[in-house]
Amino acid sequence: MKKSINSLLMLALLAGLITSCNNSKSNKNGDRGALASSAAEKVYVAPGEHDEFYAFFSGGYSGNLTVYGLPSGRMFKEIPVFSQFPTNGYGYSEETIPMLNTSHGFVPWDDLHHPDISQTNGKLDGRWIFVNGNNTPRIARVDLETFETEEIIEVPNSAGNHSSSFITENTEYVVAGTRFSVPVPQEDIPINEYKGKFKGALSFISVEEETGRMDIKFQLMMPGFDYDLSHPGRGKSHGWFFFTTYNTEEANSLLEVNASQNDKDFIAAVNWKKIEEYVNNGGGTKMPANYAHNVYDHGTHNATTTMKKEVLTVDPTKVPGAVFFLPTPKSPHGCDVDPTGSYIIGNGKLSADLTIHSFDKMIDAIDNKKFDGEAYGIPILSFEDILAGTVKQAGLGPLHTEFDGKGNAYTTFFISSELVKWNIETREVIDRQPNYYSVGHVMIPGGNSAEPFGKYAVSMNKITKDRYLPTGPELEHSAQLFDITGDKMELLLDFPTHGEPHYAAGIPAEILAPKSKKIYKLEENKHEYAALTSGDTRVERDGKEVHIYMSMIRSHFTPDNIEGIKVGDKVYFHITNHEQDFDVPHGFAMIGANNAELLIMPGQTKTLYWEPKQVGVWPFYCTDFCSALHQEMQGYIRVSPENSNIELSWSLGE
C-alpha cells in the first residue's frame, strides 16, 4: 500500500516535470501559433460561410450531445439525448417523456459518452450517430436528418456502460460493454463475493438497415473484469471486436491500488461473426430480463416505451474460437484499430509505452494454438507472439488514439498532457504538442473508420484552468484544434465545450448539410391530438381531464381565450405549429406549469401538461420571438373554482 502510494507520488512528480518542461518549450510555440496570421486564417469562417466539418461532442455529465463546426469551433446546437431539456421541452413534453423511461423508472439524466457515426463499408455514411448513457446503461440513436434522438434502448445486466457505443463497419451492430461487472442476474450477495460471481456483459445490439431500429441480438457473458473501451475490426479484421479490460485482478474495493497490480491486463478479442452464426443456429440461453426500448416516431411526433422481458446470453466458453485474451500492459484504456484493420493499439494508461498488437499475428497464434494459459476457460495468447511492437517512451499515461489515413496515429497522453503523432509501421514518434491541460480524447473526422479525413485533430482537455476568462470555480472544458496536414501539428484554436466531452465524432459537412430537414410537413402529421386546421381546434373535457387542441401561426394561438377550466383539472395543451417555413418555431409557456416550455417546430405537435391550482385568469404566451407581432402572441385561461359550473368555451378574435 505505502509503496504504491509512493510510486503514485513519483508518477505525479514526473508528470509535473514533463509538463513543465513542455510548457516552457510550447508556450513559445503556442504564442506563435495563436498570433501567427496563418493560424487565424485557417480557423476563420467568414460570416455567412459554412464550416468544412460537423463535429459531434459528447456532453458527458450534461447527458446531451453538442454539435460544432470545424475549423471555427462554433457551437450550432445541443441535442438532448439522456437529459431533460427545458429549452425545447424534451423529456418534459408528454410526447418525449417515454424517451427517458428505464427499468428503474423515469431517469431524466445520464452521463453521455462516445459518439460514433454510422458507416457503410467502413466509411462514414452519416445516417445516424450512436451514443451511450454510462450511468443507467442505455444506447441512443440520433437521426442525422432531424438531429433529434429517435431511439433509446436500455442495456440489461450491464453497469457503467462505458466500452460503448461503437459500431461495426456496416453498422451491423452497435456494441455496448459493461465497465462495472455485476451479479447476473442481480442478487442480494456480499460484495466480497465479487470474484467469480460477477459477470461482464458485452452486448451486441443489431441495427436494422433501413430504419436504424435497435434490438439486443446477444449478450456475451464475460469474466468479471472491467471492460473499458472497445473498437471494431475493419477491413481484414472485420468480424472481430476488441475490448480493453482492467481490474483483471477482480478487486471490489480500492481499485486504484488493487486493480493496478497485474503487470498486464487483457484486450478481449471477440469474433462476433462466429457468435452471430452460433446464435442464428439456435445457440445461447434466453434469460428473463427487464429493459426499456423507447422509440420516437416522426409521423406521430410521439415516443413509446416497450418493456422487453428477455435477453439472449452467450457463454463464451461454449463457442470455441470466438473469444481470446491479448495480454496488454498496464490497465489499457483506449482500444483503437488502425484504418486498415491490421493493428490493435492498447493505450496502457499507467504506462509510458504504447502496445501495438498485430491482427495477422493474432490470427496466426490462434491458428497454431499458441496459448499461454487461460482465464475462465478463455484462451490467453502469448504477448510476444501477437505483438507488432511498442512505441517506446511516447509520453505518460496514453489514453486514446486516432488515425489520419496517411499512416500516422495520434495518441493523447493524459499525465504528460500532450498529443503525440507517430508512424504506425515504424512506431517512431514524429511530433508532440502540449495540450492545455490534461488531454482526454482526440478526434479526427472519420478517425475511427477505414477512411479518415486527416485535416484536423481536436483534442478534448479535462482541465481548463486559465485558458479563458475565469467564471468562478466551475469551468467549461476546453478543446484544441490542430492542423495535422504537415509533418508537425500546428495548434490553431482553443474553444470551450459543454459538459465533459468523452470523445467526439466528425464528418464532412457535405455529407450531412444537404439532407438536413427544414420543417415537418403538416400534411404528414399523424399525431393523435393534432389540430391540422384552425377548424380542428377545440377543447374537450373527460371528467377531470381537459384536452385543448390548439394551433399556432404567426402570430396567434387558436383559441386564445379559454373558459371553463377548474382548479384540480388535468389540462393537456396539444399544440400544432401550422408554419411551413424554415426556422419559424413557436414556443409555448403557461404560468405556473411545473415542467417546462415547449418549442414546437413547423408542422409539429407537442403536448404540455398543466394542473391549474389557483382561481383566476392566467396568461400563456409564445416564448420564441417569431415575428414583429410576437409580443402579441398570447392568450388567457380562466380558472374557476372546482365546484363551479361554467361551461367550457373557447374563442379567437371575438
Binding site: I519, I553, E579, D581, S627, A628
Partner: protein, 208 residues
Amino acid sequence: MKKAGIIMIIGSLLLLGLFKFPLWNIMLGAPQYPEPLGMNIYITGIKGVSEFDIQNIDGLNHYIGMRTIPKTEDMWEFEVFPLVIGGMVALGVVVGFLGFFGKVNHWWFIGWFALMSVLGIMGMYDFNLWLTDYGTNLDPNAIMKMTNPDGTPMSYKPPLLGYQKMLNFDVDSWPHIGAYLMFVGMVLTVIAFFIGKKEWKKKVFATT
C-alpha cells in the same frame, strides 16, 4: 412553301411549352430569406417555386393587408388563357400545313403573328391590372399600414418586368421558360413569313 410551312408549324408548336413551363416568375428575397420566396405564374395558375412558398408569401402579406394569392378557380384568366393558347397553336399548325401545300400564302403567317401579338399585349395589360389591384387594394384593417413620404398609402405592386426594392424585400419579376419559348416561336413565324415570301415568289414565277 415547304420550308416556310415547317418553320410556321414548329413556331406555333413552341407555344405548347406554356402548358408545361411558367410564363412568368416573381422572386422575393430579403436578408432573412437567403433562399428567396418565389411564385411561378403559369397560364393555368400560380405555383410556389418551393413547396410552401405561396403559403409563406401569404403569411407575410397578411401583415400589410394584401389578399392571398389567387387559386386557379379564383381567376377567369386561368380558364381562358389555356383555351386561347391552345386555339392559337391549332390555328398556326393549320396555317403552316396549308402553306406547306401551297394553299395559302405567307401573309397568313404574319397575320397569325399579328393576332398573337395583339392577344399577348392584351394578356400583359390584364396581368398588370391584376398586379396593380393585388398590390394596392389592401385590407383597411391591415396590421401594418405603410405610407409613402407624401402620406399616400404605399403600393406593394410588384414590377411587371424587372427589379424593385419593396420595404425589406428585393423583388424580381421576369419572363420564364414558357415565355421564352413563346417568344422564339413567334420569331420563327416571322422568319416563316420572310422565307415564305421568297418561296411564294418562286412558285408564282414557276407557274407563270
